[in-house]
């Protein structure tokens, strides 16, 4: 670690960027320790600035809520040099990331698609329509992809819609379920155990193993909005997706 990596935190609210060692083959640039869209935007700016340097020997660059981790081969890329570059890109100016995309995803709410919708409405003392409306009028940020391939951590939900996880997780959440927990929303790309509350389902394919260039539809830094569709429209879209009649670009916000 370079001597200036742990520079003293000033009195300002924003802590100084610092380098954290993640073994000999990875370095983490930590920009903060909170879930906060502004902090996440700085992570994405650092990611973009690092990508522009086109350094050799990097295998993966993983942005999270608050940090950027570079997995690299220390026999090909000098660790000290990488550390210096990371502290430089930490200060990259915020700008609309060239990589960021705005998505508008259709969702069928309630019934068997969103078995927790009624309970969520009751717990928040709102109507089901108000819950749906809140989800469809809030532009959510993709903070992070993790947990499962293509699983997006989206945020942030309105204060009144924030509920704890289910006490007893489901053994099997159906693939493509839209779910919420706390300030966050997510879509399960795969059937999986899960403790988030299920509100609806999207016909959109979130992870495509055949697309090696961009297997995950959503990327960190993107934004996501939902638009409600009826049961028939959901089935029509799902069939078209399965038949590969709909290109992923169809889901970009116009």
């Amino acid at each position: 670690m370079s001597p200036n990596a742990r520079s003293a935190r000033g009195s300002e609210a924003v802590p100084a960027p610092r380098l954290l060692p993640l073994g000999d083959g990875a370095l983490t640039l930590e920009l903060g320790d909170r879930i906060d869209p502004a902090l996440n935007a700085r992570v994405m700016a650092a990611r973009d600035a690092l990508a522009a340097l086109k350094l050799d020997g990097i295998s993966d660059v993983v942005p999270t809520y608050r940090s950027l981790t570079v997995h690299f081969d220390p026999l090909r890329l000098d660790r000290e040099m990488l550390g210096r570059r990371l502290l430089e890109v930490a200060l990259a100016p915020l700008q609309q990331s060239a990589q960021a995309t705005r998505w508008l995803l259709p969702v069928v709410f309630g019934d068997e698609f969103g078995p927790d919708l009624a309970a969520v409405a009751q717990a928040t003392e709102h109507s089901e329509a108000a819950v749906i409306d809140a989800l469809c009028t809030t532009e959510l940020r993709v903070f992070l992809i993790g947990f499962l391939p293509g699983f997006p951590y989206l945020g942030e939900l309105p204060e009144w819609l924030r509920l704890p996880r289910l006490v007893t997780p489901r053994a099997a959440v159906p693939a493509n379920s839209l779910a919420i927990a706390g300030a966050q929303a997510a879509i399960y790309p795969w059937a999986s155990p899960g403790g988030w509350r299920l509100l609806g389902r999207t016909p959109v394919r979130l992870f495509d193993l055949n697309d090696t260039a961009r297997p995950a539809l959503l990327a960190p830094g993107d934004t996501v909005s939902f638009t409600p569709v009826g049961r028939d429209e959901f089935h029509r879209l799902a069939a078209a997706v399965a038949a590969r009649e709909i290109d992923a670009a169809e889901w970009q916000a116009k």
Binding site: P21, L22, T64, T69, D73, R79
Partner: protein, 341 residues
Amino acid sequence: MIEILDCPMPVIVQDAGRPGYRHLGVPLSGALDPEWLAIANALVGNPASSAALEMRLLGLRLRAMAPLTFALAGACTAQIEDRSGELRQAAAWDNHALAQGETLIVGKLHDGIAYLAFAGGLDLPEVLGSRSTYVRARIGGLDGRALKAGDCLKVGAGATPNPLRLPQAPHRPDGPLRIVPGPQREYFTDAAWRRLLGDEFIVSREADRMGLRLDGPRLEHDPARGGDIVSDAVTPGVIQVPGDGRPIILLADCQTVGGYPKIATVIGADLPRLGRALPGQTLRFVEVGVDQAIAARRQAANDLAECIAGMVPSGAQLDLIALNNANLIDGVIDARQANQP
């Protein structure tokens, strides 16, 4: 083509892993012991990253549907049964021919893990650039799952005969696993750090390709910080500690991010040793600096290249030495490039 007749423990297809997709939540995966995978492949003349079978604890029985050449890396009891039922031994660290209809029987794996490579590699579709199996999302390998009786796997064509053996089993280092302090070292008391370095830990039964949960002393968090962080990235070798204080060492199939504080990371050079660790095994740790860790990684790459360069012709086929040497240079060139300062 091979047909799996029986596999009592999970046997899965692995290669060198699936880098480049961790920002999308796709784990690295790949062989738990990439060194032995490389050795198994070199013995049959494959590139180091060819797909092979990873076996744990117990081997399998399989039948050759067509003539093939295989090699085993990892000490084990293995025999070949010909069509008349006669058995002959198949030593590890050497390669052997299977005639059509012959059966390979791999029994107990004395090192806990072993790799079975076939000349030509396993011919399966690449998924996101790799044939490694990631069972949790059913990606790669054969339908994204462990093998079962009745499965048939195609062996790649066009293999060049290159029968080699290792004069002796590769050196297995022992002693403490080397660690560097983790990104959240400050989340732990100094007493916890001393315990990590001074005490013994036992690999529990909760051990799979995602990680090893350790029994032994609890590592307590600094009460002012607690046992949760806002998730950030993890990597194989990370020692993370949930609120109960029981450390978990992450392995090849670990998730890409995690919300537990990470007290330390096992260095890259010692990851293959973690891959061989079994429930009940005692682990000790020793702290090294990052510079020492990188030097150890360079040494390990050199040792592997030397091990492969030191392979000798299998049996009496000495006239193949020249051919072997020519092929070997292909096999180790990556490692040699990687060793340049």
